[in-house]
């Protein structure tokens, strides 16, 4: 898989036949499970031990190249503290994909992840692709959430599932890639959420949300 720096490849030169799709993806999960760290690893290939906590939300973009398509993710990394919950709909409304993150060393965060999944199933676009990420898999010695338990839960709910580590980079690109693969890339697909998807970015050029050229 090839990743480009954010925003670098709107349309790769010399390959005009490649489809370029744009998707809005949101990260949700309890505070300190590693949402920002996953994004930072995916977008910049870095890991900061002292990653600052997120207030409100942060926005980043990253492009991945599949066989015949270039997928540009517009990533909203949200604040994890329960108090900021009321802001969340602003970000997941109209998102085509979500990664719900928990920390494998903390059972409570897994519970919170399940709540997020429920909320997304109720409130978000029905076609949203949800992935569950059990982060901090490098801390296996302190594991509190069993892989099988999470896998079973993911299967039941039709979620993509991987254990990841922002620290070692394990499965980080893979989970984004798996999402990219699962997202519908044909013309008009995912348009159900289009109205909301562009809500935040309405004013920018009027283009369909998962626009394919």
């Amino acid at each position: 898989m090839a990743t480009n720096r954010s925003g670098a490849a709107q349309r790769p030169n010399g390959a005009p036949q490649t489809k370029v799709c744009q998707f809005k993806l949101v990260l949700l999960g309890e505070s300190a499970v590693g949402k920002s760290s996953l994004v930072l690893r995916f977008v910049k290939g870095q890991f900061h031990e002292y990653q600052e906590s997120t207030i409100g939300a942060a926005f980043l973009t990253q492009t991945v190249c599949l066989d015949d398509t270039t997928v540009k993710f517009e990533i909203w990394d949200t604040a994890g503290q329960e108090r900021y919950h009321s802001l969340a709909p602003m970000y997941y409304r109209g998102a085509q994909a979500a990664i719900v993150v928990y920390d494998i060393t903390n059972q409570d965060t897994f519970g919170r992840a399940k709540n997020w999944v429920k909320e997304l199933q109720r409130q978000a676009s029905p076609s949203i692709v949800i992935a569950l990420a059990g982060n901090k898999s490098d801390l296996a010695a302190k594991r509190m959430v069993e892989f099988e338990e999470a896998q079973a839960y993911a299967d039941e709910n039709g979620l993509l599932f991987m254990e990841t580590s922002a620290k070692t980079a394990m499965n980080v690109n893979d989970i984004f890639l798996a999402i990219a693969n699962k997202l519908p890339k044909s013309e008009g697909a995912g348009a159900a959420g289009a109205g909301g998807a562009r809500r935040l970015a309405d004013g920018e050029q009027p283009r369909p949300s998962s626009c394919c050229k």
Partner: protein, 807 residues
Amino acid sequence: MYQDNEDDYKFAACTYFAKNHPGETCGSNGLPLTPSSITILGLAQRLLTIEHPNLCTYLDIIRGKHERIIVVAEVVGKSLSDFKSKFTINEVVNIAHQVADALKFLHEQGITHRTLSDDNILVDGEGRVKLFNYGLYYMTGGGNEVSFPLGLPKYLSPETILNGGGPAADVWTFGIILLELCIGKLWQNLKPGPILRRILTLVHANNPAERMAREHDCYDAYKQLPENLRLVIEKCLKIYPRERATFSEIVDDLSQINTSEMAEVKQPRGLMGCKLQYLYHWWQLAGGDIQAELKKNGLIKNSPPILSMPIAILLDGCTIGGKTGALFDCRIAKYSLGLLKSRLSHISAHDYYPLMHERRKQYDAVSLPKIIRERDTEYQFYRLLWFQRLLHGYPYTAPYIRAEAEIDIPPLVRGDVWAALLGVVGDIEEQYERIDKETPTPTDRQIDVDIPRCHQYCWLLCGSAGHRTLKRLLKAWLLMNPQYVYWQGLDSLTAPFLYLNFCNEARAFACLSAFVPKFLHNFFLKDNSMVIKEYLAKFWQMTAFHEPELASHLHEINFVPELFAIPWFLTMFSHVFPLHKIVHLWDALLVEGPSLPLFMGVGILRQLRDTLLESGFNECILLFSDLPEIDIGECVKESIDMCRSSPRSISYRRFTNEARTKEPMDMVEIPMEMLFAEICPRISLSDFFSLICQDKSCVIDIRSNLLYEKSCIEGSINVPYSGVHLGQHELRALGLNPQRVLKEAMKVKKTIVVASAEDETAQLFSDYLVKCSVPRVCIFHGGISAVQTHLPSLFTTPAPPNKNGNK
């Protein structure tokens, strides 16, 4: 050229290495272990605040390369070990008395010396004693953070050799030193091993002091000592720690024996009479460099790295071979103030004692940027002495402090000045003491995960001492403010106060407690959405007021402040910038007051203006997720300009802790829904009136021509709303005369006041002006009718239009 003289050597440095964590440097949470040097720096902060006449003041603790620690402290005279001649009994008693005084003080502070020896007891020419480097044991966490043994073998107490030992070990050491002063050095030709064995054999002695004297063939000399002095020695040299005297007893005993009168300490005048901390600070500004001097003195050696490469590295990370420097070096390097003296030699004696009633001097440096002023020796010299003076008179001098802080705040006293600006007074220690900071609460988990992510590049805040204190501060604040809850970001907000008051937790708390009601009233309510929405709406209006072109662009691409500015205001930028920038922002904030942050927000946008103007939604939001370098000095300057040039009422917010005005002339409050819809702010009648009086306003009356001609505000122009094409964003479209008047008004920075009979047309028209890039547009609160009611005298019948238009 200047001449170095003995008295100029006021401070010295010594250096050692902190322990290196071998191999895997991660704790169980997957995060790196705190380096020992960081822990040491955190612990040592307390030492920097200790003041006692018999203790050398600590001035600085520096972290060098490779876990090197450099300690800078005051020095005087020379050490006991450097004295060649014997002391008389009177001198001995006098020295011992002062040493005991110092140790008594340290023990009262809960600090054990543990490394007392004849080379860290300094005596000056007048027999005054100061202990040097008494904090080594304390700052290394009882020796845990270093991998060399602490203390010279011959001064160790038996229990220290066996299992560590507590404060009473200092009493033993003191006894040995006293004995040495009386009968000469002990065990001079022995190696450490045999010395330790000798000490341990004393365990069987009835009277270890006598026994040692006998071993050194000094029994007779010992017996000839005055009995009361011998008694003191024997009270110290008891084998069992609990049988030893305490320092307060020893001080009492010695004060009975001590007959020497200390000469009055003559405080030198001029430079050498200034606080040592100031001297050190100025010395550094004048180019003094601790590390360079250490190198020159051979205390830091630069050997080619190849020589220190290990021969082998084991799998667990331990290394074998390789030349490393000594872990502990007992030598010290002294520093001369000669350079500073000559740098400040032209300053008249008079200037050392600035008087309150004299007009303060104007210095050329004032025109330079703050960061440069902060590095200017002479400027900081004047500023510090002046602030010292003012702070001394606080709280009575509060208005002077504010006036001076407006110019700048010397970094060395920033903590004191901030506390003064925030009005901190009273017995804050006692109040803070009483608050329960320990009982667990459900919020703890969030605090615990936030603290290790809060300003961790700062070595003060990243150590365990910093973490613990920050947690206590947050818990105390939450407990004392039950109406509020912990919002992520409160940690960042607290950090600057902790940073500036690291050893004065109570004051950090008092500052935070005073800051929130003033700047962030109701921001930390469980439901703060209205408070934040109002704030952001006001911020957006201020942007339209000062940066209309940018505001129109951002409105157009639907780029709303909710997406990026919440952390700005919720934390007063403390979550957005590093500490060295925050302090400059807050210096201004504390002086200017609670409206300034809105304009700081505009100031930041202004710096990014060009990029923002040519960017679409995604690029804009990306810019804020990863904020580019902001010139804080510039931002502060601009925001103060904007703030001061804006009528007060346009930044009015209802959610503040100021009493609401009932005076109709001052009122600008509108329902929240309306506020969110209005792009331009409203101006109150009284603000409008002052603008008129100063000829700083341009009134655009958008009522019909008919109404206008009946009666209108003097000096206003008429642009009937019905004739405006809102779609055409060009002033020209308004007609020649209005265009000319507006252009003229913009040139001299007049405030454009839109006056109408209805709110709706006023909103639409003011919005239109913003789209035409007209700055400083606001709406008349209450419209024309309010002016008619409250300021009827402003009305007149307009002159025929053909004359001049605006008259």
